[in-house]
């Protein structure tokens, strides 16, 4: 049975978004909540997601609800790549955290893969810079970890 009702979502900055039931239940959290309460007129509060990010999440879910039956896998992948390509680091991280919070598995995988692609082949200093991660290691601790992982810092040696 496909539910036809609309679901109201409220972002952390109190903006209301209205989505189809099928779009909303792509989030495991919302799926569970709606399973208990059913469709109501009151908006579901999402305290950890701003309106800017929620709008993007909804874009993603709306595309994917229609994509599963009508669009080829290759085209879906291309759309996904376009979706994340021009995101700045801050937005990408916010989207990742929102996907994790809402339990949207494929969006979480997509954002994690994108972050991984941006980290690959970078030095630790660059990774900290890009993602604004505080270095909470003492110089001694960092040196110890580098020694333990020396193999990762070696240049490839030809036999």
């Amino acid at each position: 049975m496909v539910k036809e009702c609309k679901v109201k979502l409220k972002s952390s900055d109190d903006k209301i978004f209205e989505v189809d039931y099928a779009v909303a239940i792509q989030s495991q959290i919302l799926n569970n909540t709606l399973g208990h309460t059913g469709c109501t007129d009151s908006a579901l509060p999402l305290h950890n997601v701003s309106s800017q990010i929620l709008a993007k999440v909804i874009d993603y879910c709306e595309y994917h609800v229609n994509a599963s039956s009508t669009i080829s896998e290759k085209d879906v992948k291309m759309w996904d790549q376009e979706f994340v390509k021009h995101l700045d680091q801050a937005t990408l991280l916010d989207l990742l955290m929102a996907a994790q919070y809402l339990g949207i598995h494929n969006l979480q995988e997509l954002t994690c893969q994108t972050v991984a692609d941006r980290i690959k082949d970078k030095r630790p200093e660059d990774i900290r810079e890009i993602f604004n991660i505080q270095n909470d290691l003492t110089p001694e601790e960092e040196e110890e970890i580098r020694c333990e992982n020396e193999w990762a810092f070696e240049e490839e040696v030809s036999p």
Binding site: A116, P124, F131, I133, L137, A152
Partner: protein, 174 residues
């Protein structure tokens, strides 16, 4: 460091702080990386170091570079976990063999390299166990025999050591 954090607008400040320490999310990211990158990321922060030690991540890395599904069987996974874990298997055995093999530029290893790594990994495990048994026996020998060992002839010393080892072996495998 503080001024850099302040430059980030809105919610992002909070989510960056969470991200750097959120080991679960870091693991989900690291599982998409190759082994070398995970090694490098471990130096970024304490949270990254913890995530880079995760067996969950290393199991996936080892599975990806193996052409067949050998690492996907539960039996092998529990064996590897008992004998030291996937991270040790990769860094001490798969990686060095991979560097010296003809296929070092390939993303996957051939079956011979994998089999050899697993054999050496098992040998390494039993060597470490034997070493810890020897260390335990050596300290027990000192306790049991005390100063009198100095007065004993070499033959009697051997008897004492063998008796002590027998007792310990029985204790170890109970």
């Amino acid at each position: 460091m503080e001024s850099k954090v302040q430059k980030v607008a809105g919610n992002s400040h909070a989510s960056h702080a969470i991200f750097g320490n959120n080991v679960d999310i870091l693991e989900e990211i690291l599982k998409h990386l190759d082994a070398k990158s995970v090694g490098i990321v471990s130096c970024v922060s304490k949270g990254c170091q913890q995530a880079a030690e995760s067996e969950y991540v290393w199991k996936i890395i080892c599975t990806h570079i193996c052409p067949s599904s050998v690492f996907e069987t539960e039996r092998l996974q529990s064996r590897v976990a008992t004998m030291g874990g996937f991270k040790r298997l990769y860094t001490n055995f798969l990686h060095p063999l991979r560097s010296y093999s003809h296929h070092k530029h390939c993303s996957s290893l051939n079956e011979d390299v994998i089999r050899l790594s697993l054999s050496l990994f098992s040998v390494d495990y039993y060597e470490r166990r034997l070493e810890s048994l020897r260390t335990r026996n050596a300290s027990n020998f000192k306790i049991h025999s005390g100063i009198t060992a100095i007065d004993q002839s070499p033959d009697s010393c051997t008897d004492i050591v063998q008796k002590s080892m027998k007792e310990n072996r029985r204790a170890c495998f109970i």
